[in-house]
């Protein structure tokens, strides 16, 4: 678990002109994907096939093989479409192995469907956290010391840790840092990764505390963040692979109309309602791993791309197809993606916002090699218009192989001339060792950044809160697909709204969930969400990935709850440090 010390915090605090200290609590939360976890298991002799809903087909394959003490080659996991996961379908739960066991004993296929109630015990959750933070520094806004303590729980058997202090090491240039985590093993179902684990709850505390400090010294919150801007990664001193956070602050402030904010709380009224503006910095690590892909081009020029990754609603089907088409130089209608099956070359889990960087990169690397091979084939074919040309003079555009001398032909001709039905190539990309291997080996520190702005409207008598506007501006490298990309960022911000105002899992003293259904565990619905605006800087980070993009699935939730809480403070003068911010806390 994360314990991090840098410099000498205690001394820095003693020497500081001012400081703030506060404790924040966030309740347990549950993922509640629309699709409840389920699976079908069936055996054929020693070979097991599992149809499941998983964020990692290879992970489930490995875990199932381990349970049955068999080679992973004897286990096939198929998961073509997943109805949301958010982390709960990344880990391996009991229903998969139980279905396989029952199928073996009964010698027939077995299906297990969990109930919505089961999702509150049998598929993980975000654990309740109690965080304590001290920020100390000068009256001029320069922070010299930060202490971030997290207290939470884990399960007796599993060792999952909600690392709230992760982002504290990354966000600001603070010379003296003390980040610590403490966990009690409890007899509760195991907590697990849930959208932006660590960063989501940690950002609520850090960005609320930063807002408290700024309020204390009467400085504008954005100006305060800029005063402590980190030009290099604070904890490992590596240069950023790319960081455009200043641009995010500036663009966001302009779009949102931050200059309309009143610095003094409780001074902004509109139609009898208290109005508040709040902001928070957002960040998420850029993660990347390796994987393998098989490329097959047929005599019709259709490129089939096979890799064992999965689409959990993030748009993997669309985006990987796009990336392959772009890299190959063919129209995207000519790409046939095949995912979600462990019979395909090894992929990677959809987690940590890594997949577009991971699979997108290894697909591009493979396609480049594949193109080279095809073109070499072409220049060796007697009947080819490019016979005996130099490969360097050839390029592929819109499915046509074009030479600098003007000769061109459809790429499919290379295959049909070869006398074979198709041409295949399999490639594996290794990136560092273990997990998200890329970051450990790279000379850069890669993180995405952003800024969230919130406007809240509060009834002064009843405490009813609405959020008329939420704006997010993000530096997430190059956006591969603007439509699906924005949707991911909108989705993250909607989650942040839920975290700030609605979501809470209630336990009775025996540890049983008492609101284990969608009527009493409140997720945001259409009626809750007003104006959502997402913009991005869209500058490619080629130091990080082949296409310049970083992950976007999780950054949207980071900072959103703090932005809303800070807006609530600006509207009412009340600092709510305990989520969710419900009406009773404001009247």
């Amino acid at each position: 678990m994360l314990q991090f010390e840098m410099g000498a915090f205690a001394e820095a605090k003693n020497n500081a002109a001012t400081s703030i200290e506060a404790s924040y609590t966030i309740p347990s939360e549950h993922h509640n994907p629309m699709e409840i976890s389920n699976c079908i298991a069936l055996w054929d002799g020693d070979r097991l096939t599992v149809y499941d809903a998983t964020q990692g087909v290879n992970n489930y394959q490995a875990c199932t093989a381990w349970c049955f003490e068999t080679d992973p080659k004897n286990v096939r996991v198929i998961s073509k479409y997943i109805g949301g996961g958010f982390g709960c379908k990344g880990s391996y739960w009991s229903h998969t192995v139980l279905a396989a066991m029952a199928a073996k004993m009964l010698d027939r296929p077995v299906k297990i469907n969990l109930s919505r109630e089961d999702m509150f015990t049998a598929a993980g959750h975000r654990p309740r956290t109690l965080q304590n933070i001290t920020i100390s520094g000068g009256q001029d806004g320069k922070v010299t010391g930060i202490q971030h303590k997290t207290n939470s729980y884990t399960n007796i058997e599993q060792k999952y840790f909600e690392s709230c202090g992760n982002l504290t090491r990354v966000l600001y240039d603070i010379p003296n840092m003390s980040v610590s985590h403490e966990y009690k093993p409890l007899n509760l179902p195991s907590p697990v990764y849930m959208r932006a684990p660590g960063e989501a709850p940690g950002s609520f505390e850090l960005e609320s505390a930063m807002d408290e400090y700024a309020a204390k010294i009467k400085m504008d919150p954005i100006e305060f963040r800029l005063k402590n801007y980190a030009e290099v990664c604070p904890f490992d001193k590596k240069p950023w692979s790319l960081k455009k956070l200043r641009e995010c602050y500036a663009k966001g402030a302009e779009i949102f109309g931050w200059d309309q904010r009143k610095q003094e709380p409780k001074t902004n009224m509109r139609d009898g309602k208290l109005i508040g503006y709040g902001m928070a910095t957002s960040t998420y690590p850029a993660n990347r791993a390796g994987g393998a892909v098989k490329l097959i081009m047929d005599a019709n020029g259709i490129l089939t791309v096979q890799t064992a990754v999965q689409d959990i609603g993030t748009g993997t089907w669309t985006v990987m197809g796009q990336i392959a088409a772009d890299a190959m130089g063919i129209p995207s209608e000519k790409v046939n993606m095949e995912l979600g099956d462990t019979d395909f070359p090894q992929g990677f889990v959809s987690g940590g916002s890594n997949l577009t960087a991971t699979a997108g990169s290894y697909i591009i690397i493979a396609v480049k090699k594949f193109k080279e091979k095809l073109l070499q084939l072409s220049v060796a074919q007697e009947k080819s218009p490019h016979y005996q040309s130099s490969v360097a003079d050839l390029s592929i555009k819109e499915g046509m192989v074009e030479a600098t001398n003007g000769k061109s032909e459809p790429i499919a001709n290379i295959i049909s001339r070869s006398g074979k039905d198709s041409y295949e190539f399999t490639d594996t990309s290794q990136v560092g060792k273990g997990g998200f291997g890329y970051k450990k080996e790279a000379p850069y520190s890669s993180h995405s950044f952003g800024v969230i702005f919130a406007e809240v409207e509060i009834d002064p008598d009843l405490g009813v809160i609405t959020v008329p506007r939420l704006t997010g501006v993000f530096d997430v490298g190059k956006i591969i697909n603007s439509k699906t990309g924005k949707s991911q960022l909108y989705g993250g911000m909607v989650w942040g709204y839920g975290m700030a105002l609605l979501e809470k899992t209630d336990y009775n003293p025996e540890g049983r969930v008492v609101n284990a259904d969608l009527a009493e565990y409140h997720v945001p619905v259409n009626a809750d969400i007003r104006e959502l605006t997402v913009e991005y800087i869209d500058e490619p980070d080629y130091n990080f990935s082949e296409h310049g993009g970083r992950g976007i699935g999780e950054i949207g939730i980071v900072g959103t709850a703090a932005a809303i809480a800070n807006a609530v403070y600006n509207a009412t003068g009340k600092r709510v440090r305990d989520l969710p911010i419900t009406m009773d806390k404001l009247i």
Partner: protein, 170 residues
């Protein structure tokens, strides 16, 4: 009423089996040897071994209904929910079981002109009624304007709530 040779009406299991036209063992073999992922029809798992002889059909009820324009006549267990009938017996898996409690709407279908939660509706209630499921909106060659609107504005991510979203706007 007994299931005798004279009874020509199809049980849901029989209907499924006739559609699938395969035995259990053949099903497992073909499922694991398939080169591409099967769109696994859940009803196909009701294999030949689910012998009608072991079930008591005395309490089954007969319903006459039209689903997505197709006239149907079935004998069903009266405890079956409409959602389970659609998904488990008829292979219409577009309607989803998001909560089975009427809180999420992912099971929304039309009964007549009304929007209903099929998880809270007994299958027996559709007797004499017309039902449209999400599969009945638009076609493979011509999308419904609602579907076009959702696609153009990227209204979906995983798509699991499509029955609710499409129907709410319908």
């Amino acid at each position: 009423m007994n299931n005798t040779e004279e009874n020509k009406e199809l049980w849901p299991e029989e209907k499924s089996l006739m559609k699938a036209e395969i035995s259990r063992r053949k099903f497992i073999t073909s499922a694991t040897l398939a080169a591409v992922g099967l769109a696994l029809a859940p009803y196909a798992t009701l294999a030949a071994e689910t012998s009608n002889k072991s079930l008591n059909f005395a309490s089954f009820v007969e319903i006459n209904t039209t689903i997505n324009g197709q006239k149907m006549k079935m004998k069903i267990d009266p405890r079956t929910s409409l959602l389970d009938l659609l998904r488990e017996q008829l292979g219409l898996t577009g309607s989803k079981k998001g909560c089975n409690q009427g809180a999420c709407g992912a099971c929304t279908v039309h009964m007549g002109k009304d929007r209903i939660n099929s998880c809270l509706t007994l299958a027996a209630q559709i007797d004499g009624k017309e039902v449209t499921t999400i599969e009945g909106i638009g076609s493979e060659t011509e999308f419904h304007p609602i579907q076009v609107a959702f696609m153009e504005n990227d209204g979906y991510q995983c798509g699991y709530c499509i029955p609710r979203s499409d129907y709410v706007c319908h």
